[in-house]
Amino acid sequence: MASVEIHNLSIQFGHNEVIKDLSLNVVDGEFLVLLGPSGCGKSTLLHSIAGLIDVSAGRIDIGGTDMTWADPTDRNIGMVFQSYALYPTMTVERNMSFGLRINGTPKAEIERRVNRAAEMLQLQSLLHRKPSQLSGGQRQRVAIGRALVREAGVFLFDEPLSNLDAKLRAELRRELKLLHKNLCSTMVYVTHDQVEAMTLATRIVVMRNGKIQQIGAPADVYEKPVNLFVAGFLGSPGMNLLTGKLGLSSSGKSVFLSGKLALDVSCYPITTVLKQEKEVTLGIRPENLLIHTSGEWQGTVSVIEPMGNHHVVWVDFGGTLLSSVVTGDLAFCVDEIVRFNIDVAKISLFDNTTEQRL
């Protein structure tokens, strides 16, 4: 088990500065997920922790030791790749033991480690097969096994589930969560899938264009996104966004105004004191938009998407489509007029110009 400390990291490819002055602390034993769209630098960051990419400035400490220039083998890490990268001409057993063999680990020790990993990942019956004879999920487990036998302090995962179909992905997600619980090792995981991030992480790091947007527990990042980008990236369907103005009502309370909507937002903790009217965007998650017969506002139902255990209802409110998540039976159909409430305790307000949370 080890912590990872990244200080002022910068990585450049040619003239392109992919990561600029990034600092991050990975706590010992946590499952940290690097989340972001393609090209945001998350994979690059992971590879630099692994030592597979050179840094142009900054420092990386693993387990308290400066590893900025150390060889990947000496960093006390294990890594699982997106395409599994299994050695195709070797059996599963050999795949897992090859690295240890080359480095002179005694035979008994190799056997112990391979067996332990095989047991944890249910690979015992597959030890003598070659990768071409395995299914995608099995190959993934072997890749994890190969990383496990290194008995490293930190495990790195580079989008390991993206080559699997949806059902397998869900299954392996649960297995990974279980693995983390049993091993209690530090794990750094890269993905662009926010569902994976939410379910697996102890903390999520949302990245964009080489910069960290927000770090926090899944609940925090989900409920209190720090800017519009993070708000839009997490959650499916995405957060409802309404542009409007934030001002003071006659009684001195802060109000959000947008078209027909006038919402008393005085319970919202605004950090800066309002001097004048501000252009803002209001965000509210679909599950906090409650369709209710005695709702304050009304709109027309435009589209209903049945999802099996819930419905996503799209309501036309003055030209904007707002989504709402409804469980149970529906008391209405398309083109009907419905009334809804907005749970003011759960809103987010963003400055229109800076896109930051107020």
């Binding site: 200080h7 002022n8 050179d54 400035a57 900054g58 420092r59 400066d66 900025t68 220039w69 150390a70």
Partner: protein, 297 residues
């Protein structure tokens, strides 16, 4: 380690130029010398006078550069009976190469197209036999082919040698085009058939325009292969149509009297010029051609 700014990393990145890398470059450079040496010697010899050659070292740069050997090679070297230089061979080779490239490409494309999309019954077997044909040593077929061509009145004629080249190129050309067409999605072909296209229609209007890359590769392979051919030209071309390679060998190996090494080297370069120029200009495609041909079987 409590500083606010990152301290300079203690271990500097190992220098790029470690012993292993030096070894790599050393190997590659010495190999390059080995590969370039003959070219250098060819060029250098062709610009020297015979006296210089006799007295000097084969590696020496010419003291006084002369183009006389080149002129002699082109227009007055003796290629057997006549002494008109190797230029006759140049034009002969041109006349042989051009049709010997166009026809096999067309036929190879048609064959490859038929085999990969239409897949008539027994086409796998047909293809297998065609491929095996590529392995048959040419000597086995030599005499029967001579007789056949003689009966058709084509032995020793230009059409005759072209026909021979076409026949011998079929396996490789078909393989090339078939493999290329296999990488084109079947859906495209099916859509065209639904649109009402027939065998030739689809070929001419859909497949041929899409085949530019492989046609370039096939052309390079064919031009190089036919231009550099010796044995088929020797046997089938006839005295009036001898390709440059045959004439070159005649110039150098069948001279009586003193051997004019500088003329010989000039003639060699002249003969190799066409394929070498194609190679240097189209390097990328050349390599692609090799890789394509390498997906054999």
């Amino acid at each position: 380690m409590t500083g606010n700014t990152a301290p300079k990393p203690p271990m500097r990145r190992p220098m790029r130029l470690n012993p292993a890398r030096i070894g790599v470059y050393a190997f590659l450079l010495s190999a390059s010398l080995f590969f370039l040496m003959p070219l250098y010697i060819m060029l250098v010899t062709s610009f020297k006078s015979m006296d210089e050659i006799r007295l000097g070292s084969i590696f020496a740069f010419p003291v006084s550069i002369t183009v006389e050997p080149w002129v002699a090679a082109w227009s007055s070297a003796c290629t057997g009976v006549s002494c008109d230089g190797i230029r006759g061979g140049f034009w002969n080779s041109m006349w042989i190469v051009i049709p010997s490239t166009l026809f096999p490409i067309l036929l190879g494309a048609l064959n490859g197209y038929a085999l990969s999309f239409w897949r008539p019954r027994g086409s796998q077997v047909l293809f297998g036999i065609l491929m095996m044909g590529a392995f048959i040593p040419v000597q086995v077929m030599m005499f029967p082919l001579v007789r056949i061509l003689a009966t058709m009145g084509l032995f020793g004629t230009l059409p005759g040698i072209v026909l021979i080249h076409v026949v011998f190129s079929m396996p490789v050309m078909t393989l090339l085009f078939r493999n290329y067409y296999l990488s084109i999605p079947q859906e495209l072909f099916k859509a065209a058939r639904i649109d009402g296209g027939g065998f030739f229609r689809i070929f001419v209007q859909l497949m041929l325009p899409m085949s530019t890359p492989i046609i370039i590769v096939a052309a390079i392979m064919q031009v190089t292969g036919v231009w550099n051919d010796y044995i088929l030209g020797l046997v089938f071309a006839g005295r009036d149509n001898l390709p440059m390679t045959v004439q070159l060998n005649n110039v150098i190996n069948t001279t009586t009297g003193t051997r004019l090494y500088n003329v010989n080297m000039a003639a060699t370069i002249l003969t190799s010029m066409v394929p070498l120029i194609i190679y240097f200009v189209s390097g990328r495609w050349f390599v692609r051609g090799i890789a394509a041909g390498a997906v054999k079987g």
